[in-house]
Structure formats: C-alpha cells, structure tokens
C-alpha cells in the first residue's frame, strides 16, 4: 500500500513537472514552413502525406516493418480461430454485411486516393479496411475474408516488400534511399501507398484472430 502511494506521488510529481515544462516551452519554429516550401516537389499536394511518404519515408518504411513483425509475433504465439457461420438464417445481419463491407472498402480506397491532396492516405484508408475485416470476423465470416493463407500472407508482406524494393531500387539507381526521380514522386508514392493500404488493413484485421488462422488443411490433418 505504501509502495502504491509512493508510485502515485511520483506520477503526480511527473504530471506537475511535465505540465510545467510543456507550458513553458518556447513556441517552436516548427517544420511547417520547410514542409510547405518543398510541397510542389514532393509529388503530393498534402503536407502530412508528403511528410509520411517523402520527407520521412524511411520512418514509414520501418513502421510497415513493425506492423509485419507484430503479425509474425502474434502468429508465432498460437493459432487463431476464423469462424465460418452460415448466415442464411440471419438475413438482417447478412444484408447489413452486404451493404457495409463494400462501402467500407470503397471508403477506404477513397481515403487512400484523397490523401494526395487532402487529409487521408494509406493509414486512414487501411484503418477502414481493417474495420471491414473486423466486422466480417465478428459476424462469423472470418473464414470467408481471411481463410486463404497464401493471399493473406502475400498481402501482409506486400506493403513493406514493395516499399523496401522501391527504396532499395532508387538507392541503387540514384544513390539516395527513397530519392524519387524528379517528376515521378507522385507515381511511386501512390504505388507504395496502395500496397501499404492493403497491408495495413490486413495486418490490423488479421490481428483480431489472436493467432495464425487455422486453414482447411490443418483441420483435416
């Protein structure tokens, strides 16, 4: 009990000190001006997407690697169950899924596309794709969306693989990691974002199963 009170006191002191420091911080000059100044050359028209895929592209590349590592970690800890529930006796749920799942995927794709010039991008779109996969799993249709192991594995790895190939290829061809050729940055960014979108959505959606999904072959064995 004394230890708990001591921890609480220490955390309260941390809060007080941290608040004071944060409030006393001088107003930062920030990176807004350089980020906006380089925007015409970045290949996209939105500064957050430019920071993610161009200025700090190496950071996003490693983030995608972290996502893949998380799936590998969860899959190596045990097997997850993907349900295959027959929904023909539950027409309301079935029609809800038929309406919402395509809408979520389309909205995710729209967010991916709109990220070029407005708030949006691979991470936001991927979150919607993950929402669609979570919804399908909660409705008992996990086997239908994540049941085939080979495409799921390719999709999970595609984001970081394509990003790493582009980064490595550009490093070999132009001498700079992720140094996009002038005028082509937008195309490369869209390619990386599109595969990243699929991988982010699949990663977040597949994590819900809590382990490597059992395949049909496993069941028979």
């Amino acid at each position: 009990m004394i230890a708990r009170a001591a921890v609480a006191a220490a955390c309260a002191a941390l809060f007080a000190g941290l608040s004071w420091v944060l409030l006393e911080l001088p107003v930062p000059s920030g990176l807004t001006a350089p980020a906006l100044a380089s925007l015409p050359a970045s290949g996209v028209q939105h500064p957050v997407t430019a920071a993610l895929l161009n200025y700090r592209g190496y950071d996003t590349l490693l983030e995608l690697a972290v996502l893949l590592l998380a799936v590998i970690g969860v899959w190596s800890l045990g097997r997850g169950e993907l349900q295959d529930v027959d929904l023909s006796s539950r027409p309301l749920l079935l029609s809800l899924l038929r309406l919402t799942l395509p809408a979520l995927v389309v909205a995710g794709g729209y967010l991916l596309w709109v990220g070029t010039f407005a708030p949006g991008g691979a991470f936001q779109g991927g979150a919607l794709l993950a929402g669609a996969l979570v919804l399908a799993q909660l409705a008992g249709r996990g086997r239908a969306v994540l049941g085939r192991e080979a495409p799921v594995r390719i999709g999970l790895a595609a984001g970081v693989a394509v990003f790493a190939l582009v980064a490595g290829g550009l490093a070999l061809a132009r001498g700079t990691l992720l140094g996009y050729p002038p005028g082509q940055a937008g195309t490369w960014i869209l390619l990386i974002e599109a595969t990243g979108f699929v991988s982010i959505g699949l990663t977040l959606g597949a994590l819900l199963a809590g382990g490597r999904p059992r395949t049909v072959e496993d069941r028979d064995a």
């Binding site: 609480a8 941290l18 920030g30 001006a33 980020a35 972290v66 097997r79 991470f123």
Partner: protein
C-alpha cells in the same frame, strides 16, 4: 480558422501519460497494464498534436501529425501483440496477475489439454475446438 488554445491539451496529455505510468507500475493485472500503456501512448499523441498546433503559420505542423498517424497504427499492433502474449500467459497457467503471488492469486490453473499436456504444445485454443 479560429485560434484554439493548445495549452489545455498539453496538460491533458501530460495527465494521461502520468496516469498511464501509474497504471503500469501499480496495477497488477496484465490487461490493465496493457490499457495503461495505451493511455500513455494517447497522452504522447495528444501532446504531439497540441505541439503541432502551437507552431506559427496558417496550417498545423504536418510532421508531428505524420508521426501520430503512424504511431496510432503501431500502438494498435503493439497492443494486439501484448494481448496475444497475455493470452499465452494465461493458457500456460501463469495467471494474469503480476503481483508476485503467482498461481494462487489467479485461482486454479485451466485444466490441461487431455491430448497434449506438454508445455511445448501450442494450445489451449486448439484443444478447445
């Protein structure tokens, strides 16, 4: 766009961070600790976004926004991994309370899988089906 005072958000971020740190240190249950780590992360994101709003200029600083964006996705993944580890911990009979008292505090361990009692065998969940 009307000016929004970022100071309350900075203080709220510091509060979430301190509260989460308290939870990690003081709460024995693993799932509560995982929730507390998420609270700490949320505090950091709040501070980053509030800092971005403090920078001069028409638009907020895009770089902290990009970091928060990727950070949220990574924190979701880290939470999933932590929850999978917690599930393994429970399946292995260790209980979910990290209060130093071990199994007694967590009640009786789950019954061993009749087909495979070895600890190396993956799987309470496999045995459950």
């Amino acid at each position: 766009m009307p000016e929004l005072d970022p100071r309350p958000y900075l203080v709220a971020g510091a509060a979430l961070l301190a509260l989460g740190l308290w939870g990690v240190a003081a709460l024995p249950h693993v799932v509560r600790k995982i929730l507390a780590v998420n609270l700490m992360g949320t505090g950091v994101f709040l501070v980053l976004v509030a800092t971005a709003a403090r920078t001069p200029g028409e638009v907020p600083d895009p770089v902290p926004h990009a970091m928060v964006l990727t950070g949220i996705v990574v924190s979701v993944c880290a939470t999933a991994l932590a929850l999978a580890l917690a599930q393994r911990l429970q399946e292995s009979g260790g209980g979910l309370e990290l209060d130093g008292r071990g199994k007694e505090a967590a009640g009786p361990a789950p019954a061993p899988d009749p087909e495979c009692g070895e600890p190396s065998c993956r799987g309470g969940r496999e045995g459950a089906s």
